[in-house]
């Protein structure tokens, strides 16, 4: 039994017929074939599957795709524009804000939402802000440094703040 949904993902409207039980993360990865969004714990703990749903960072393993009908989704694929990395991506690369990279897409999407709300966050605000995203490699030090650096880059060139859509 299918429900027809339209989701604007990274600026492009995508239509599909889905079962109501299909999770948003499976819709993104398996129906749309966009595998930048990762599945980690699958139990609402780790934040690897974080995407922006109507601008809010959410765990896409805990949302049904039908709930996103008529709404906008931004994934890690929507960060870079015209072949140029988003300042958050640049900062994660330059500050070595990752080791294995598994948590990185979710971490960057959370950082994206955080920096929209708090353009000049303190270290404490960053640490609280990413407390729903687990990293088992870095010990978080370089992730925090990357988000700080990204905040500076974005304040220097606010025109680069937006992702696609």
């Amino acid at each position: 039994m299918g429900n027809r949904i339209t989701v604007t993902i990274n600026g492009t409207a995508r239509e599909a017929e889905v079962e109501p039980r299909l999770l948003l993360v499976h819709f993104i990865r398996e129906v749309l074939g966009m595998t930048g969004t990762h599945i980690g714990c699958d139990t609402t703990n780790c934040g690897a599957c974080t995407v922006l749903l109507d601008g809010r960072a959410v765990k896409s393993c805990t949302v049904f795709a039908v709930q996103a009908d008529g709404r906008t989704v931004l994934t890690v694929e929507g960060l870079a524009r015209d072949g140029e990395l988003h300042p958050i991506q640049e900062a994660f690369r330059e500050q070595h804000g990752l080791q294995c990279g598994f948590c990185t897409p979710g971490m960057m999407m959370t950082a994206y939402a955080l920096l929209q709300r708090l353009p000049n966050p303190t270290e404490e605000q960053i640490r609280w802000g990413i407390s729903g995203n687990l990293c088992r490699c870095t010990g978080y030090v370089n992730i925090v440094a990357a988000i700080k650096d990204a905040a500076e880059k974005l304040r220097a060139s606010p025109a680069r703040a937006g992702g696609k859509g």
């Binding site: 699958d42 974080t50 039908v66």
Partner: protein, 290 residues
């Protein structure tokens, strides 16, 4: 993990949602933030045949004061309460509780109404609402009715809501002069459920306690009200001796179980310590301190 199949409805009004509950009864589940329901469905601990998504009903998300009450729409997200200027300025009990519920991503989805209706004894809002003297508005086929929070939690995951009722609003007494509150939680790691947590809401009048509510989280089969502890303070000055006595009473009133978060005796002592600290902080705030 894949949930069992279900039929999905997204009504646009509360009466439409109530009609679906009337039609499908216990086979239907309401979906608010979904951050308790969806994990349960993925684990197949819940397999409702019908899911009624409340998220497309307009007008269920608000925080406003009026007629002597603070009214919070059932669909208001934890994060919206956490960042509300009104809550931060006037309702420290709620501000404290909102920021320690799970993690920021969950708080972007989870709702106050969903959390209360789920009635998990580990839910932070239950203890906070018991401390604050809340009532909930339940809307069914006959319209809305109010239920005191003291009669709301009937058992673990069981509430006074009827199968055809939707929790639509939460109300608390409007902040008055001399009001203070606090919510303190001990957790193994950030984002976890509480080992134990304690909420306090009180009103001081001329230096003595005119109203006291103490709510306890995750130390019993439901969210608990530490009624004797609260009563021991009424009409008294909340000095060190009175606070210590109330904290010991609260520890005696709770009913924790041994589990992965610690043995019962330890949790009981956590309740004693957190109750004393929360009372002192609430008193300090009631007197105008930070």
């Amino acid at each position: 993990m894949i949930p069992a199949s279900f039929e999905y409805f997204s009504p646009r009004t509360v009466p439409d949602a109530v009609n679906l509950l009337v039609r499908y009864g216990q086979e239907a589940k309401l979906l608010a933030g979904g951050h308790s329901l969806v994990p349960l469905m993925k684990l197949r601990l819940a397999a409702p045949r019908y899911v009624v998504d409340l998220n497309r009903i307009a007008g269920l998300s608000y925080i406003r004061e009026g007629d002597g009450a603070l009214c919070i729409g059932a669909l208001t997200r934890h994060g919206e309460i956490e960042t509300s200027d009104l809550i931060r300025a006037r309702y420290p009990l709620l501000a404290d509780a909102a920021r320690v519920i799970s993690d920021p991503l969950v708080r972007n989805m989870g709702t106050i109404g969903g959390s209360l209706a789920h009635a998990d004894p580990a839910g932070d809002w239950g203890a906070a609402m018991l401390a604050g003297g809340a009532e909930v508005v339940a809307t069914g086929p006959g319209g809305p009715r109010t239920i005191s929070i003291d009669r709301f939690f009937e058992g673990t995951f069981v509430t006074a809501l009827r199968p055809d009722e939707i929790l639509t609003e939460v109300r608390l007494p409007q902040a008055v002069k001399g009001q203070g509150g606090a919510y303190l939680k001990l957790e193994r790691k950030v984002g976890d459920f509480a080992i134990a947590a304690v909420g306090v809401g009180l009103v001081l009048d001329g230096g003595t306690c005119a109203r006291v509510g103490i709510g306890l989280c995750n130390v019993g089969p439901t969210s608990l009200r530490a009624e004797k502890a609260a009563r021991s303070l009424i009409g008294r000055k909340p000095d060190d001796a009175a606070v210590a006595r109330a904290a010991e009473t609260a520890a005696a009133e709770c009913d924790p179980a041994d589990d992965l978060r610690g043995p019962a005796d330890y949790k009981r002592d956590v309740v004693r310590v957190l109750t004393a600290r929360a009372l002192r902080l609430a008193v300090q705030r009631a007197r105008g301190g930070a």
